[in-house]
């Protein structure tokens, strides 16, 4: 309430100062008012829809509140949820599953994405067109396309099994990507790689394009081999961009939800139960709101830490 009245007060201030444009510009006070009138709505919206809920989550995380029993008595349980979560083998399992995903998707996507970017940087004819084609999967909805991948993965009728069978001679109905305990994590890693390799590629490409030609010319004068040039110029110069891609994929995959929920919903058993899926189960199926709030806070702190590194990396790339 007070915030809105401050804003309208500032707006009035800006309106009163309007008649004399040049004087206004010199005085500067009204500029500050404009700045606040322009910025305030965004900040207020984010406070209402992000920060307020976050604070509420913190508060809930210390209680045994259950959202499906809004009228039940709520007691304060202190840090019990936090200590339970940190000693809960299921939570550690889901953290392990998440780490497994994050690690593999990052390794595969970075190698593949950088290699593609390196090749596209050869600037062959039509490279612009093919780059755009490669970028398409990244722009699609993981949920909608992931749902269709479930069809591609069907052991009897799916195209994926058929193609794998065609090239390896295996019986297409002899393996199940989604139903098999060993393969299920890979069924998600494959789709994630299909969707997000273009992302890594695009950022790596920007990194490669940012290396000035004269450095290669100088290396050539020094008779550095192509191999040497790659290791001493290309890779180190593109590294901040590669790190940026890695960090961003790390953050995104740490909170991965849509693909997993659609493809395996955490199964079979709990082999693909990443942190977001566990959280969704606790919050919206078991309705342990307090407990899941504490879990949400732990996840949030992790992502916030990563985001902090991300912004530092952004600024470093920017200042180059």
């Amino acid at each position: 309430m007070t915030e809105t009245s401050t804003v309208s007060h500032l707006a009035r201030g800006a309106a009163e100062a309007t008649p004399e444009p040049v004087a206004r510009r010199v005085r500067g006070l009204s500029d500050r008012a404009i700045a606040w009138v322009f910025i305030a709505p965004t900040i207020i919206l984010l406070l209402a829809i992000n920060i307020f809920p976050l604070i509420w989550t913190i508060q809930l995380s210390f209680t045994n509140y259950r959202a499906n029993r809004p009228n039940a008595a709520v007691t304060n349980v202190g840090v019990e949820h936090y200590s339970n979560i940190l000693s809960d083998p299921d939570v550690w399992h889901s953290m392990q599953v998440t780490a497994h995903f994050v690690l593999w998707t990052i390794v595969i996507q970075t190698v593949l994405g950088f290699a593609l970017a390196y090749l596209i940087d050869r600037k062959f004819r039509g490279h612009g067109f093919w780059t755009t084609v490669i970028l398409i999967p990244m722009m699609l909805s993981p949920a909608v396309v992931g749902n269709f991948w479930k069809f591609l993965y069907q052991p009897q009728i799916g195209l994926f099994n058929y193609i794998v069978g065609f090239f390896t001679g295996m019986d297409p109905s002899s393996f199940q990507m989604i139903g098999d305990v060993r393969l299920a994590p890979w069924s998600i890693i494959i789709v994630d790689t299909w969707m997000w390799t273009p992302y890594v590629m695009l950022i790596c490409l920007a990194g490669l394009r940012s290396i000035p030609d004269y450095i290669y010319e100088a290396a050539e004068v020094d008779r550095a081999s192509a191999w040497r040039q790659f290791w001493s110029i290309t890779l180190p110069m593109a590294m901040p961009f590669i790190m940026l891609a890695v960090l961003f994929r790390g953050i995104e995959n740490f909170k991965m939800f849509d693909l997993v929920n659609l493809l395996t919903s955490g199964g079979p058993g709990s082999t693909t139960e990443v942190a977001s899926i566990t959280l969704k189960r606790e919050a919206f199926e078991k309705w342990r709101t307090g407990y899941s709030s504490a879990f949400a806070i732990i996840l949030f702190v992790t992502v916030f830490g990563l985001a902090n590194i991300y912004v530092k990396a952004l600024n470093r790339v920017k200042s180059r």
Partner: protein
């Protein structure tokens, strides 16, 4: 100096290396397109064709998937169908060939409409608010600007599930659960961070001198913003809008947790398109095709801005 003359050949790769690069990249692109081509093809198959083994590449095209997507059908005896008046349109005829009659429209059209309304409204709001805030950050000395910008960015980094719990509770209190307005506000809040970061970059690139010249000519600050800055930033605003639109269009986590009926968007709906005896894959493929076509178009329109959009404007091509 013989060494220097070869320098250019390093910057300009050799013909052979170009040809190898070209081959590998095209191969990757073609493999990556297979799932998408398969979605498109499956949409035009009949249900039996879609689940035949081996997978059919050549088939008689049919619109059954699209018909099934937009209708609900009920099974009838052949005698009942034989006694009906002539089929009312193509979809009716297709249904009758499978001993079914069309019972009514499906929920796909309303869900698609929800997607359209929610995505466009939230984009409009996010870009509107974002443009103002970006201008504020770009042109004025805002105290704690860096902290505020980090705060804005960090809201986008939050795992949706982590904020979904209190938003669910808050929306329940405010009567916003499962309403379009609730989803519009939510997506606006998520998108506004991207909009601010992207647009700040675009507006930073417009020379301040333009506005100063306009203000010396008698424009007020606001007039200069409207008549000088906005037209100059138009391309950037359009690109930002498309990025916001794509996010809101594709979003799934909030949609599946916070909507169930009235305000449900397409992504949580598509997996629940069920035919007789399991999922109706041609209908699912048809829905997926209709859903991704706009994104195809936007991706092509956006290709120059893609890099900016996915790095919050920090990296430029």
């Amino acid at each position: 100096m013989p060494g220097i003359s070869t320098a250019h050949s390093v910057v300009e790769p050799s013909a052979l290396s170009k040809r190898i690069a070209c081959g590998v990249v095209i191969l990757y692109a073609l493999i990556a397109m297979i799932p998408l081509v398969w979605i498109l093809l499956t949409g035009f198959k009949t249900p039996p064709d879609s689940i035949s083994y081996p997978p059919k590449l050549v088939f008689a095209p049919s619109l059954e998937g699209y018909c099934n997507l937009f209708t609900t059908r009920s099974r009838q005896t052949p005698e009942y169908i034989a006694n009906l008046p002539p089929a009312n349109g193509m979809c009716d005829e297709i249904a009758r060939n499978r001993n079914m009659v069309i019972a009514g429209p499906s929920k796909f059209a309303p869900r698609f409409l929800n997607s359209l309304i929610i995505a466009f409204s939230s984009t409009l709001l996010a870009v509107g608010l974002g443009t103002l805030a970006a201008y504020g950050f770009s042109r004025f000395k805002v105290p704690l600007a860096d902290d505020l910008l980090f705060f804005i960015l960090s809201t986008r980094m939050m795992p949706p599930i982590a904020v979904a719990i209190p938003i669910y509770l808050m929306y329940r209190e405010l009567g916003l659960s499962d309403t379009r307005l609730g989803m519009i506000l939510l997506y606006t809040a998520v998108n506004v961070s991207l909009a601010v970061w992207l647009l700040k970059g675009f507006i930073d690139e417009i020379p301040r001198e333009y506005e100063e010249a306009a203000m010396i000519d008698g424009y007020t600050r606001l007039q200069a913003f409207r008549k000088v800055v906005l037209p100059q930033a138009a391309t950037g605003i359009a690109a930002t809008a498309i990025f916001c639109l794509i996010f809101a269009w594709n979003e799934y986590a909030f949609a599946v947790l916070l909507t169930s009926g009235e305000a449900q968007t397409t992504p949580p709906f598509i997996p629940f398109i069920i035919g007789e005896g399991g999922q109706d894959w041609p209908a699912v493929a048809a829905a997926t095709t209709l859903f991704v076509i706009p994104i195809f178009v936007f991706t092509i329109l956006l290709r120059k801005h893609l890099l900016r959009g996915i790095t919050f404007g920090a990296v430029r091509k």
